[in-house]
Amino acid sequence: MNKNWRGYIFSREIGKQVVPQRVQNLVIRTCAERHGLTYLLSATEYYMDDCYMMLKSVLDELGQIEGIIFYSTHQLPSDTNERMKIYDKVLNSKKGLRFALEDLALFDEKDVKLIEDLKFCNELSAQAIDLDSYQESLN
């Protein structure tokens, strides 16, 4: 069985944090080792906002690999339709996605539901005012 998984890292912020690419790759490498997968050198997304050119290239490569290991679910596009297109392409190719930081995988519709739950809950909770901002607003 083909166990080659392509890493996918960012050169822009991930969830409002800049994560060094070396750290992203280390987390992906550990994930691959834990699951007995062969880790292929990561594709690095361009730094421009909402740019997914490299991801699209990797998706075109799905015929030769088993799937893509993202550093985190936070790298998925914020646009729901764009995400759905990615899931459809991966599932129709009978391949998978992994998210190294969260140690989650996406292989079927049930996994899509969980990842989507995470996306929208993260988005909603990020809109809740945090304690520091609240206290600053009182001053």
Partner: protein
């Protein structure tokens, strides 16, 4: 004087729990489903006996209190980590732990919740200094203040076999006067508050919910028997997260239908 003054909103049990939690920051109560607790403990027993390769294991009722007879301190952490792995891999555990305190969590946290992904198992053998957790507040080290810990014990806990915490009012004094303590070690702060901390008396069949912003920790277990506990965090699903994020550290436990419908709602276009 009760802090909750809206009896028409909360029933008596709920009002009592909320009132006590607002006063102290913690509550100890009988588990809501004793069968679930028994099931968790049986699984833990079976896994521990297997991990320790015991030829003639003691009955479950004797095992946990007397674990010091079967576990050498130098192997304690290895055994503990192996058992945590088993806890994490059992998909039934989230529902089992939740059922221990479903109503209380609902009253204190809410009914849309996230649950910690990893179970923290603590084993404190008598006189063992390797498992001391110095005085700390989880909120000072990356957890958000919108979280509680469900502390589940598999033995009777009392005195140094248990954990201690600093109740809410005393805790607030430390926070509001933090500069005084900021250059102290955890041990020095403990000395300052030692006479004010509460050692939790938790018989088997009871659990604790506490706000992990309270200063808490444990000392060397000076009692004769071992302590076995699991701590697990819960928080409002849509409340702010800090360094422990949804997905990486927490997972959604309950999402109500109207939240899904609301999130997916699209404003009609003309």
């Amino acid at each position: 004087m009760p802090l909750v003054t809206e009896p028409t909103i909360y029933n008596a049990d709920e009002a009592n729990v909320i009132d006590q939690f607002l006063k102290t920051g913690y509550i100890i109560f009988p588990v809501e489903d004793l069968n679930s607790l028994a099931k968790i403990r049986s699984n833990l027993y079976e896994n521990a006996v297997k991990a320790l390769e015991l030829d003639s294991p003691p009955p479950e009722s004797d095992f946990f209190d007397n674990a010091q007879k079967f576990i050498l301190p130098e192997y304690l952490n290895e055994i503990r980590l192996g058992l945590i792995d088993k806890l994490n891999k059992n998909p039934d555990n989230a529902a089992l732990f939740y059922s221990l305190a479903k109503n209380h969590l609902g009253w204190i946290v809410g009914n849309e919740m996230a649950i910690q992904r990893s179970y923290n198992l603590g084993i404190q053998l008598p006189k063992d200094s390797s498992s001391i957790l110095p005085l700390h507040s989880d909120v000072w080290s990356g957890n958000s203040p919108y979280e509680v810990v469900l502390w589940t014990s598999f033995v009777d806990c009392h005195k140094t076999k248990s954990m201690y915490l600093l109740p809410l009012k005393e805790n607030q004094k430390i926070i509001s006067n933090f500069q005084k303590y900021s250059s102290m070690t955890a041990e020095e702060i403990f000395s300052e508050v030692e006479d004010k901390v509460v050692w939790l008396e938790v018989p088997y069949g009871h659990v604790v919910i506490f706000w992990h912003g309270l200063l808490h920790g444990n000392r060397i277990n000076e009692e004769e028997k071992s302590r076995w506990t699991v701590n697990l965090r819960f928080k409002g699903l849509l409340t702010p997260y800090h360094a422990k994020e949804l997905g990486e550290y927490f997972m959604p436990l309950t999402i109500r239908p109207i939240t899904r419908i609301g999130y997916q709602y699209k404003k009609p276009k003309i």
